[in-house]
Symmetry: C2
Subunit: 241 residues, 2 copies
Amino acid sequence: MDADRIVVNKLKEHSRLSSDDIAEIKTLSFTRRELAGHEDLIRQGDEPDKSVVVMSGWVARYHLLRSGGRQYLSFHMAGDWPDSQALFLDRMDHAVCAIGSAAVASVQHKELTRAISRRPSLGFAIWRETLVDASIFREAITNNSARGKPARMAHLFCELFYRAKALGHVDGNLLQLPVSLIQLGEALGMAIATVNRTLVELRASRAVDFRSGTLAVYHWPRLCAIGEFDPGYLHLKSLPR
Amino acid sequence: MDADRIVVNKLKEHSRLSSDDIAEIKTLSFTRRELAGHEDLIRQGDEPDKSVVVMSGWVARYHLLRSGGRQYLSFHMAGDWPDSQALFLDRMDHAVCAIGSAAVASVQHKELTRAISRRPSLGFAIWRETLVDASIFREAITNNSARGKPARMAHLFCELFYRAKALGHVDGNLLQLPVSLIQLGEALGMAIATVNRTLVELRASRAVDFRSGTLAVYHWPRLCAIGEFDPGYLHLKSLPR
DNA sequence: CGAACGCTTGAATCGACTCAAGCCCTGTGG
DNA sequence: CCACAGGGCTTGAGTCGATTCAAGCGTTCG
């Protein structure tokens, strides 16, 4: 799929786009780039001059820790803008890497700001995109701080599945999600041993299974219950299911 | 101080404002409101039609948990826009309450969007404000997920002190911060007993003391070291100290 | 003066982490 | 084609630390 199609599709999740907005998006020139697994796309401290949209696969944002470890902050799939913030914040306070092989498309900031100044409503849509992003971060704070381990993991699964479903990336009850248990632990703030034990526990609930890079949702309502998941914070206009 | 002065002062932290931008800000009509301690200003699920700037005291954002408890997400002092996101996200996914007695000033969204459409650069400044907000949330994820208890608490103290200093709210080495230990625990994801024990531990370092609503910083470099604090994520143009 | 709230502290419990060993699968080189 | 090395996953045992529970103190406010 073309980058502009993906962008329009994504922004329509939460914003109304006029045909002029869409036409403006079509004028943007995207440059495609393929990424190998674990490849860094942007590093902490970089001052990028372009913004990136995910075209396929997954990309993640993370903080580098003093210890050398990572704190994963968010996961992004086709349609997401993992560095939309860089448009107005010069220096990256976090890094972005590929999770499994992925592809992205980048636009020059200059082009984007020109488009925004021509179509302010397009700017508002992208702004809204960054605000949803912030909302997801808030939920992550609560998730990692206030919920028990099984609920925490279930909540992440719920969110990723729900977002992927909204963007049409779910195949039946399966979602390809090539994260390792180590990365899962670095996202949820748990040691790898605990990640695995929690996974075993969740399997026993017969609501989800995550193994070898595939998330299988067997019982959505029960999974939501375990994860205390309420999708309101994702601010999607059309709430699937 | 007038609301427009406070707003200009705050936005100048990270954005360049032209005299036209400032003039536009001065046209906004703010309504002042006094808040008692613990009073809710905005509730989860609300659909506010105005934005709020803190005038004095502290305000906090929080998620209500199923258990009835709270997860505090961020603390805001005079100059901050604790609900800037509500401009473009209709439904509040979190609540805002006063910490101690506080005052806020509100503007109608309509007025604000009108001002933004007239002065796009003003919109960019507010947008940047929301992006810094998101950056602070990201740091909170890392703080609450990856750092040990003393570092976690020290980091929060560093952030609040640094931000307050930048806005001129610090008096010598003292910062008025009327949060209870319970609230501190609900922000940092620790039980109250642990909060107190960690406080004792930090006192022993002779770098900080927090008691009866006052934060005293005795040794800033050591406090930063304990909290692994690097202010880059606050994206301030002029970095004090 | 009594009640309520917030802070403090100790003791016991529980859960997560670390450490360690072993497994499976994959990819590589002999 | 098989052996081996490495990475990721799995699991158990022991340790450590945070939580819970509980009691007591101080201050504030009605």
